[in-house]
């Protein structure tokens, strides 16, 4: 069996005595998509940022591709990528200029072909020479996603990647992500508040509430465990702290 690309053991983070993430343990296999679900402030972004080395854990350990990020920063980061609805590429550069810069950061020698392929894949070839800040939010999101595929990542971390997209464009993005997954091995960690999207994209879902995994499994397993009819109902129950079946509310 293949080694997991992500191994997280006892991961915790406190900010000024407030526990944001408490003792998380999980792995992600080389072709697996793990969905992180949870209400705002549950600890999803903090967890992702600890994986990426943006936040230092208070306790616990993260190993990516069998390596510690601290001591193998360049080797680890060159094999993964990240996109989020909350970050952007410089708005005053053209799409080509932005993707050219990031291609070089990720070590691509002749990036034009790769950039053109990715823009075509996301159906935005026509924006190549346009200023990024002048694009619609849907186009900007897809340019960000192009950036996150420049290095053919083995691990892609997506933080609410379709938050600003209409259902049509979001669906196209899902199709592209699934197509890439079918073509080659790629693990993903995916956060979203869109339950249908999580259900469609993820092999396994972990529900986070108050920094802890409260449920983990496939959609069918989660619904069976919780006794809820849908992920949305389960989400609302957890967010409102109504507790899970068999637990005191």
């Amino acid at each position: 069996m293949s080694e997991p690309v992500v191994v997280v053991e006892g991961l915790s983070k406190s900010f000024g005595g407030v526990e944001a993430v408490c003792g998380l343990n999980f792995t992600v296999g080389p072709t697996e998509v793990l969905g992180l679900l949870g209400p705002n402030g549950a600890g999803k972004t903090t967890t992702i940022h600890m994986l990426l080395g943006l936040v230092t854990p208070t306790a616990g350990r993260v190993r990516l591709f069998g390596m510690e990020l601290d001591t193998n920063r360049v080797a680890v980061l060159s094999r993964l990528n990240f996109s989020s609805a909350y970050i952007a590429l410089p708005s005053n550069l053209t799409v080509w200029e932005n993707l050219n810069v990031f291609s070089r950061l990720y070590g691509l020698k002749k990036p034009r072909k790769k950039i053109e392929e990715l823009l075509e894949l996301f159906e935005i070839s026509h924006v190549l020479n346009r200023v990024t800040g002048g694009l619609s939010s849907g186009q900007q999101t897809r340019v960000n996603l192009c950036k996150s595929f420049l290095n053919d990542p083995e691990l892609l971390i997506l933080d609410e990647p379709t938050a600003s997209l209409d259902p049509d464009i979001a669906d196209k993005v899902h199709q592209v992500l699934n197509r890439i997954r079918n073509e080659r091995d790629m693990a993903m960690i995916y956060t979203s508040h869109n339950m249908a999207e999580i259900e469609k994209m993820c092999d396994r879902i972990a529900f986070i509430s108050q920094g802890r995994f409260v449920l983990e499994g496939t959609t069918a397993e989660l619904l069976a465990q919780s006794g809820r009819a849908s992920l949305e109902e389960l989400f609302i129950a957890i967010a409102r702290d109504r507790g899970l079946p068999g637990e005191a509310p």
Partner: protein, 261 residues
């Protein structure tokens, strides 16, 4: 109308309660300006106008080198926060020192372009020849670039720590050191108790050296040597401060917060 205007006044005053940078705009920077112009006035009163004009033009041109070098590091970095690109860079396979190294390289280009432009304009408009400083111009410029980088590293660290609230520092920090660097007047004009502070800054040795070189055409090697020794010290301190700040912002979660502001 009074209610609406007072509501807006309140909205702006709230900002001053939590922002040291904004308080600096009220108290600190005006004091710095008063010091520079006050000491300059004292100097002008005590001198013949002849060489003083040359000193001032030389000082303006060389000061710009330090300013541009500092700005290139801190402003480039701040721009990454403005456009929300900071986290893209921090998750790219970059070593931490490569970001300031790249911005410092841009600083060299910007400073040299500005230096050339100002030198040509000063020659055409005011018949001032900066090359009259002689060969010393090269190490003087190099020394100011190094000090500009050191100041830029500290400013970058402050922006990392305080985010957009520290924007004013990007433009302001060089003016924090200007009154004590003897840019437009010699160290002897400063009160005796301020002179040790002036001599602790590498820029002071450059501007003192420039005036000496313009007056006599001779380069004082000891001034230059002292400037480079201090530059090494300040660069080490700037690097340590930036490294420590990076560690702190990762621990406290400020990096991810600033990156998504």
């Amino acid at each position: 109308m009074i209610n609406r205007v007072s509501a807006l006044v309140l909205r702006y005053m709230y900002l001053y309660r939590r922002s040291l940078a904004r308080l600096g705009e009220v108290f600190f920077w005006p004091v710095m300006e008063l010091l520079v112009w006050g000491f300059l006035t004292m100097y002008l009163e005590s001198e013949d106008v002849g060489m003083t004009v040359s000193y001032l033009l030389g000082a303006i041109i060389l000061w710009d080198v330090l300013y541009r070098a500092q700005m290139a590091i801190s402003l480039s970095f701040t721009e990454e926060i403005w456009v929300r690109n900071l986290l893209n860079l921090f998750v790219a396979p970059l070593r931490t020192f490569e970001i300031p190294l790249a911005t410092a390289s841009v600083g060299v280009i910007r400073a040299l372009v500005s230096l050339t432009l100002l030198s040509v304009l000063a020659a055409v408009l005011y018949a001032f020849d900066i090359t009259a400083v002689g060969f010393a111009l090269v190490p003087f410029v190099a020394s100011l670039l190094l000090f500009g980088w050191a100041v830029g590293l500290v400013t970058m660290a402050l922006v990392l720590r305080f985010g957009q609230a520290a924007e004013a520092l990007v433009w302001g920090v060089p003016f924090l050191i200007q009154p004590f660097s003897a840019v437009f007047y010699p160290v002897s004009i400063l009160p005796v108790w301020l002179q040790p502070l002036a001599w602790s800054l590498p820029s002071t040795y450059v501007f003192e050296g420039m005036r000496a070189a313009l007056a006599s055409g001779v380069l004082d090697g000891s001034l230059l040597a002292m400037a480079f020794v201090l530059n090494v010290v300040y660069l080490i301190l700037g690097t340590l401060f930036l490294g420590l700040t990076l560690k702190t912002v990762r621990e406290k979660g400020y990096l991810s917060r600033i990156g998504m502001e």
